[in-house]
Symmetry: C2
Subunit: 437 residues, 2 copies
């Protein structure tokens, strides 16, 4: 039994936007994620992805294709930042999803009219500039992979899990202002750290790393002083994005006494398309299994429904391309393949935990899963685990990497697949490292 | 020599608002701090404090008292949230300050017209409702008092300063959404923690504490990827507020592996009036002295100007009143008296450090000094230091406190004083603890 299924999840349904019907498309009719784009003659505005196209919601509204009560929701989804849409909550999003699904389905009543308007309605993705989909007021990051927290891999000695690790989702406040969307490069950050010589220096980081993460964007918020129960948590998650929590390990190691700070606040990358909670319904799974001798979640972080399918099955892969690879015309090479199921707490549990003290979440807040490392070598999801700073990996072109170098590009992709359902994807979350300024 | 002095700092100047001329007033003519208020017939809007009055800037503009290029600045200062004013920066703020100073001075050219309009222009502070002066997008807190970080007081064993403590201002991202203004109570937060029995429970905190802090509000921001030099740092600080960083020590102790999180994010209180950087000019002092065998600040956190007067001399006092005290008509009693000079890094150094990795600060961001504990018993600035959780203090009415109890009210006040200058104050930063919900 899967919660929340309806006929927008039917894998037999196809779109008249033919690229959406390719099995490899991230954006089939069953996805329809929200984003913000611009294109020649189309100033920054909201749209949804379908196949290799963006449906321009401003154009759809202006062509009178969206009427009735859902039009107000579509207006919010057509805005240059989607916070108002997020604040409307998931019932409103679902009503719009139904309307857009019917518009884009190949058996819709208005198909011929839509096809005749397709030059107005559709923009090729490769001609669109994509933006951060919403203003992100707060970014809370968690550490929830036991493998990331403890794994003994390569040169790295095994660490004990901290005593609280399976009692609560370990979280911290991260920096929201420096979140950038896919494709925005950043300069290698300066910072105070201990150099290899042992000396304390102020210099560009020599230990630049990535972290493969997955994030939930908060839809409706909660009032300061109120708590969100686990059964209500998903009403407050509008959708999901990919996250790369770039980290400068030397800066982080030297500064960190009261949490990560400048070692992470120079850049965090997210993917541009918000995959809605509704589109993710087929990919629910039972959460991380705990053995009988491990702490079980406390009642406020547990429920029978959640035990059944509170987690999400999302494959997360990371690819690297170096300057030399690109100059030689070589494609990027995969260095991480993992799955969100490796995390020991779900995003719903993280959200509920976050509000247990009455802390108010707001539309557009981002909750990060933490580094999604799994048990195997190829599922280690950051260089700190992969190389431990001492054992470089060899790339197909013969280059070695212990940490990221200038010109390197790291791209995260995500995909949810399940037998009997259309696979959906998350687009791309990548950025290139520029030399220090 | 004091930097930035002009005749708005002249202690001989007086206001026609006579309450501003009392030596005990927080808001003499030499202060004129910005805030946001409402009053009957006056919806939420910006104003400045003068004596025991608020000058309604909307009314001043509507009465054509502010003209020329400064009018645009006054419009921003009259708005229901001051972020646009902050974004204009300190030169704009200074131009408005000059204009308001001339309006409020007793020898101003328009004094008689102003006095005849005083019913329109002035609202008694005790009839005004005060609000958070700006939307605070990010709250970064620091730990900069060596005494707070290491002091052996009462039952608390001495701790070693962490090795990095005098190399950089130790900071972390805190939670901005739960910041409330003076007077807004909060419910004792629930949270997971280890009870006295040793059991892990989900229950209201049993170790509620306060922290006396001082905060800088960012004016003009910096672009992502850019750094702010120490000599430029003060151009980015619009002004200052008092901060109480309420803390639930049991929740904090149990959860804290990657920084403070739910142990602090239930509430942070700030004072309602932003005392401008300009008004603070007379109270500049040389920063915390370091001995020859202590690490000196690196060049990017040091300058000859900063060494001369990069710090601020601000007395910070905290007072407690309990339900029983209020029922008996007793006034609050002082339990902390300290001074911002006890911190080992200045707010300018904190701001510069914050941007060393290219992190972008934005108008309205709050930087907290960390707990401003000094070397003496009476300058310990939180209960964790005062009682160490084991040695309660006795209040004048015979009650004991180890941690805060329901009904307790904790109020921070701040005052800057210097021979030859008018003392200025910060108003009040207080809140009452309500029972858990």
């Amino acid at each position: 039994m899967v919660r929340g299924l309806n006929d927008t999840h039917d894998p037999q349904r196809k779109s008249w936007v033919s690229s959406a019907n390719s099995a490899s498309s991230d954006f089939p009719l069953q996805n329809i994620p929200h984003g913000v784009f611009s294109a020649p003659g189309r100033p920054r505005r909201g749209g949804v992805a379908i196949g290799d196209m963006v449906l321009d919601l401003r154009a759809a509204i202006d062509s009178d294709l969206i009427s009735g009560s859902v039009r107000e929701v579509a207006e919010a989804a057509a805005a240059p930042s989607l916070n108002a849409l997020l604040a409307m909550g998931n019932d409103a999003a679902s009503a719009l999803h139904r309307c857009l699904f019917d518009m884009l389905a190949d058996d819709g009543a208005t198909r011929h009219r839509l096809e005749s308007l397709s030059n107005e309605l559709l923009v090729p993705l490769n001609e669109a500039t994509l933006y951060k989909p919403a203003a992100i007021g707060a970014f809370t990051d968690f550490m929830t992979s036991t493998y990331h927290a403890s794994a003994a891999r390569r040169a790295r000695p095994a660490r004990e899990l901290s005593e609280n690790f399976l009692h609560l989702p370990l979280g911290y406040n991260s920096r929201a202002s420096s979140i950038s969307v896919d494709g925005v490069p950043f300069a290698r950050p300066f910072g105070q750290h201990r150099a290899a010589s042992g000396e304390i220096v102020f210099a560009p980081t020599a230990q630049l790393d990535f972290e493969v993460e997955f994030g939930a964007l908060v839809g409706q918020g909660n009032q300061l002083g109120s708590r969100v129960s686990l059964d209500d948590a998903e009403k407050h998650i509008f959708g999901y994005v990919l996250v790369n929590d770039w980290s400068a390990r030397d800066i982080q190691l030297w500064e960190m006494r009261v949490g990560p700070f400048l070692g992470k606040s120079f850049c965090t990358s997210i993917s541009p398309w918000i995959v809605t909670a509704e589109a993710m319904a087929p990919f629910r799974r039972a959460p991380y299994p705990r053995s009988a001798n491990q702490p079980q979640p406390m009642p406020h972080l547990d429920s029978s429904t959640h035990r059944l399918n509170g987690a999400l099955d999302v494959k997360l892969n990371a690819f690297i391309s170096t300057s030399r690879m690109r100059a030689a015309g070589q494609t990027s090479t995969q260095i991480v393949q993992t799955n969100l199921l490796h995390t020991s707490w779900t995003l719903a549990q993280m959200l509920t935990h976050h509000t247990t003290n009455g802390c108010n979440l707001q539309p557009g807040d981002l909750l990060g899963s933490g580094t999604v490392s799994g048990p195997t070598e190829d599922s280690a999801a950051c260089l700190l685990e992969i190389t431990a700073g001492t054992l470089p990996i060899k790339l197909p072109n013969g280059e070695y990497r212990t940490w990221l170098e200038d010109g390197d590009e790291l791209i995260i992709k995500g995909r949810a697949e399940r037998e009997g359902f259309a696979a959906i994807g998350f687009g791309s979350c990548g950025a290139r490292v520029l030399p220090p300024i």
